[in-house]
Structures are given as C-alpha cells and as structure tokens.
Amino acid sequence: MKLVPIAALLAAALASPAAYAQKKYDPGATDKVIKIGNTNPYSGPASSYGTIGKAIGAYWKMVNDKGGINGRMIEWVSYDDGYSPPKTVEMVRKLVEQDQVLIVFQTLGTPPNTAIQKYLNTKKVPQSFVATGATKWNDPRNFPWTIGWQPNYQTEGRIYAEHILKNNPKAKIGVLYQNDDYGKDYLKGFRDGLGDKTSMIVKEVSYEVTDPTVDSQIVQLQASGADTFFNITIPKFAAQAIRKAYDTGWKPTHYLNNVSASVGSVLIPAGLDKSVGLISTQYFKDPNDAQWKDDPAIKEFHAFMKKYYPEGNVLDPFNLYAHLVAETLHQVLKQSGNNLTRANVMKQAASLKDYRPEGLLPGIRINTDAADFAPLESEQLTRFDGKVFQRFGPIIGK
C-alpha cells in the first residue's frame, strides 16, 4: 500500500492552495457586501468637514455602479457625531456591535478618535485611515488596529524649520498657533526641526478656535521684531492673519501650514495680492489650481463630483481629499481579495507599496509596513505667485 502516503501528500499539496483561495469573512463582509462604518461631524462647530463623509459616500456609490470591489458592493454607514467624543463612542459602538461593520474608516478629529481608540483596539476592529494629522496614530506597537493617513503635522513643521535654517539662518521667527493638539503638534515639529536653534523663535502667540479674530496676535508678532512668520491656523484665521500682516506693513517671510494652503477658501478671501510670496507645502493637487486644469486625475475628479456629488463644492479641497483617501481604502480592499477578515484588512493596510492615487502630487507615494503606520510622509514646498502655488525644490520626506 505505497499509494496511500502518495495520495496523502497529493491531497495535502492540493489542499493548501485550496485553503488559500477559500473565502474568509469577519462580521461585515459576505459574498455580496462589505460594510464600512464612519462618523463625521455633519452638525455642530466642525460641520464644514462633513463634506468629507458625503464625498466618500458618493465615491462608494461610483464604485458600486462599476461593479463593486472584487464583486462585492460597498455599504457605507456614516453617522453624525457632531465632533462630540461621547457621541462618537456611542455611534462607533453602534457601528461595531449593532450594524456589524467590517472596519471603521476615516472617523474625523483628534478628540473623537482618541475616545474610540482603546475600544476599537480591544475589539480588534480596524480604525483605518483616521482623518486627523496628529502624530500619535502611527503607533503600531501599542495600537495595532489604528492607522493614520495624511502627512502628520510634526513632519510638516520640521520641513519649514529646515527651509528656514538653510535659507535664512539669522531669521527672527514669530509663531501664531491654534491652542489645541493640532497647533501644538505643528509647533513641536517646528521646534524639533530647529534643534538647538529654537532661540530663533522670538515670539509665540496662540489663539482659541472660538476667538473672533487674530488681529491683536498679529500686532504682537510684528512688535516683537520678527522677520519670519510661521502661521499655524485653520482657514478662517489664516485669511485674517494674511490680510492683517499685509495691512500693518509687516511683510515677513510667511510660512503657512498646509491645512490652510487653499487658494479658494483662504487666499481669495485674504486678497490674492496680499498673499504673494506665501510659502507652504502640498501633497495633493489643488483642484482650484489652474496648472492642473487638464490633469487626467483632476478631470476625472470633476466628472465624479458632477455625477455623484453635484451638491458638493468642486473647488473644496476636502472633497478631493475624500476621494483620495477612499481610493486608498479601495486599494486595500482590492488587495484583501477574498480574505475579508479584520486582521487581513489591517495587514493589507500596512503593506501598501509605492501606491499612488493620481490626485497626489507627482512623485508622492503611499508606503506602509508592519512598523510604519504613517501612509503619507512626504510633501513638497510651494510658493504662491499671485495666481497659483508653484511647487519648488524636491519632494521632502520618504
């Protein structure tokens, strides 16, 4: 009976690829659908970000119209949390325990994400590509189920510091920052980048997001004798700061954080002539920018907005951001194939190799691995020439 072991070997050899191709599912995934959960501030003080959740929903509608991902339709379950952490906790528990989603995706804001991080990691549900630039999401050792997406604020702060050190080592720097995690993260990166030269910062002033204006802060910075200005503000205050810095005749070398580097929502309100010379960074193409008018990715984005999200503002960079981050998850789910377990989706999210949604600036790629949960880590410096942000210098970062 020599045939028996051979047959057994054969069976084993055949079984292993068969087992590999076998479909594996966790809650939220079947032969027909993949359920994705999300919270967004559709109401409340941060509701201007709500368009991200709507645009992502529109993106899945487009994907479903084209036949879904590996034949499965995407079911998008997105709840309003009003940017209130207790509400986020409640809604995310609903998503996981009642709606039984496969993964949680793009939950927005640092406090809401902090509130749910422990819960999702205990439940082993992916908290994938969160919508915040805080540095702490890249911590696979302690939080293996949480992964960020956008370049973090500290990285960007360092880029400006290095540029200042190289071009004007005698600069006297004034900093305006929002008094919260976002502002402080930028400031920390900036100070780290200056290294032992932090004495170059002659004045730091902060504002609260509830303040009406930042005029008095600008006057203080001007009075400090600073000749270089690092402006860490969200769009509304960025526009005020640019205008005030120009009108008071200060005219420093002005670094503006990427958060507000938008022609449509910041520079036009501030005055384009007052914005000439602003230095910032970008990592994806600005849909307002004339230089991308004929770019295939931007053209496709315009077509998408027209067909699937006509009520959205096509010039709002948040919508392109939503499109890009949804593309990234699309890629991850495609890579996951028929093994739609939470562990595998997380593993695929952490094994993106030189992946490039075309809306990113040329040369910028997404790379992740088991020790690197920061998908985007490079940006390019830009200078505003009165019409568009002109990119200059190399891609900085990895």
Binding site: S84, P85, P86, V89, R93, V96, P111, A115, T210
Partner: protein, 324 residues
C-alpha cells in the same frame, strides 16, 4: 408611600434589573447613559422644577464632575467608585459658591449668568496652566472598570458593560431616594414655596438666600455625580464633550420629562438619549429638523411633560374605574 405608588416602582426596578440580561451590550451601554442623564436631570429638576431657578449652565457641573473622576483615576490611581463622592462634594461646593452671588439675579438674568458658566468652561479646561491635570484639548483617557472578582468566583459571568450598568443603577437608586427624601420634607416645601411666592415664603420665616444657594449646590452635586458616572462609562473626557449644547439638552430633558417631577427625570433621560438617534435614522440630511418636530409635538401634546401626561392618564383611568 401607599401600595399603589409602590407597585409601579417595583415593576420599574425589576425591568431595570432584568434589562442587561435581555439586550445587547451596545443597548446596555445606552441604558447606562440613560441612567447617567436621569441623575443629571434630577439635579437640574431640583433647581428649575422645584425651586424655579433656570440654569443654562449645568453642563459645566457635569463637566466638573467628569473631570474630577478622570483626574483622580488617571493621575492618582483612585478606584472609580471612590471618585463619585469627591465629584459630588466638589460640585456641591462649586454650585453653592456660584449660587451665592448669582442668586441676587432673578429669572432670565440668572439664566444668563449660568449660561456664561456653561460657555466658558470648555475654554477653561483648555487653559494651559491647568493642562498637566486636564490634559488640555487632548483630554484624558481612562480605563474601563472591570467587574469585581467575586462575581467570577461565584461562577457568574458578567461583562464590564453589565457591571457598570448595575453600578450606575445602584447609584441612581440612592440618588433618587435622597431627592425624594429632601423634597417631601421641610426643605422641599421651602423650595417650592420660594418658587411659587418668594415674598410669602420669606414672611413665613424661610431663609430664602440660604435655601436657594443650597438648592443650587445640591443640584450641582447631582449633576456632578452624573458627570463622573458619564466619564467612567465613556472612558474619555475632553473639552469638546461638554459644549454649551449639553446644558441646553439638559433643560430640554427636564421640560419634556416633566418639571417638578421625580419620575420626569427618567422620561427626560430616555428622550435625550434616544430621540436624537431616532431623528438621525429618519433623516440623515436634517436630523435636527426632525428632532425639532418631535420637540414641538411633545410640548403641544404633553404640556406638563411626559410625567404630567402619565399622571393625567392614570387619574382618568382611576375615575373610570370608580364610575363603573
């Protein structure tokens, strides 16, 4: 208490105890929040319903209680149950002290002063000199309480959500009994007398200023204990959790539940916990418009709040039974 009053309370308690065994953990968590809100609403009802003082800033006391619990647990390793008396005491003092000067103000002016408290507290929590305790805008993450070991040693399986629910339920029962005790006695009568006719009350020898300040303090204490329980249930506190909307929602809760009614706090808590979710299910696009319609509907159909409607309904049934 007569037997007729006791029966519904016994039924209610039985339902409350059985609930976690019947529904999913997510629902248990939601009902846990209902209990938390019920305690907070009871506190506000003591002040607004029984004593006639309008507060638009009770979210602030809720936040103080929550931060007390979070800081004690996170920085000093105090067990969760021991944070409640501290949170209550701190809020009692804070409420009493805030009450003293604010009580020179009447009606709408007091409402404005408390509104200022509610509006300013989130920014105070972000204040950078307090940051080493409050964690600034990042807030404080706290660990979830595990059920005590003797449950498993007795062979009972109880998960953290269920345990926390029973713990909150026990606290709620104590707080409700305490409120009932305060209100049926001399102080309770004095509070109502001040609400209805403060000149007459004063003429009767009621120390108006003292009673009003005390009512403010006790009310804040209730809300503070609720805040501490809420923080333990959510496992996270941050300034964004306690915006002015929370204070308004509390006021909505007591009016819908029934002013000057102890049971109203429970109805109100159910309303503020579940109706926004129902509204969100009905219309994703305009949930607050749907919420508004619910609100108007309730106010029109039940002008005395849900508790008032229930009371009237019961009385009508009784009359019918007697006429037969």
């Amino acid at each position: 208490m007569t037997r007729r009053q006791l029966i519904p309370i016994a039924v209610l308690l039985l339902v409350a105890c059985a609930l976690p065994l019947l529904v999913s953990d997510y629902r248990v968590f939601q009902f846990n929040l209902v209990l938390v809100y019920a305690i907070a609403l009871l506190g506000l009802n003591l002040l607004t319903g029984y004593n006639g003082q309008i507060s638009l800033g009770h979210g602030a006391f809720y936040a103080i209680g929550a931060y007390c619990a979070a800081i004690l647990m996170d920085k000093y390793g105090v067990p969760y149950w021991a944070t409640l008396p501290v949170a209550g005491a701190v809020c009692l003092l804070a409420g009493f002290l805030f009450g003293l000067p604010a009580l020179r103000l009447e009606g709408l002016y007091l409402a404005l002063a408390t509104f200022a408290l509610g509006v300013s507290l989130p920014s105070l929590l972000k204040y950078h000199h307090l940051e080493k305790w409050t964690g600034g805008v990042q807030g404080i993450v706290i660990a979830k309480p595990e059920p005590p070991a003797f449950f498993s040693s007795m062979g009972l399986t109880i998960n953290p959500d269920q345990w926390l629910y029973y713990f909150t339920l026990a606290v709620a029962i104590v707080m409700f009994l305490l409120a009932w005790n305060i209100l049926r006695g001399r102080i309770g009568r004095a509070m109502v007398a001040i609400r209805d006719q403060h000149i007459a009350a004063e003429a009767m020898g009621v120390n108006t200023a003292m009673v009003k300040s005390l009512a403010f303090g006790v009310s804040a204490m209730y809300t503070g204990v609720a805040g501490a329980l809420g923080a333990i249930a959510i496992q996270y506190v941050a300034p964004d959790s306690f915006n002015i909307f929370l204070s308004i929602v509390f006021l909505v809760g007591i009016v819908i539940g029934g002013l000057a009614s102890i049971s109203g706090a429970i109805y109100g808590a159910l309303f503020i916990q579940f109706v926004p979710n129902i509204a969100d299910d009905i219309s994703r696009a305009a949930p607050w418009a749907i919420f508004g319609i619910f609100l108007i509907g309730f106010v029109y159909l039940m002008p005395m709040g849900i508790a008032g409607a229930v009371r009237m309904g019961l009385a009508r049934m009784q009359r019918k039974a007697q006429n037969k």
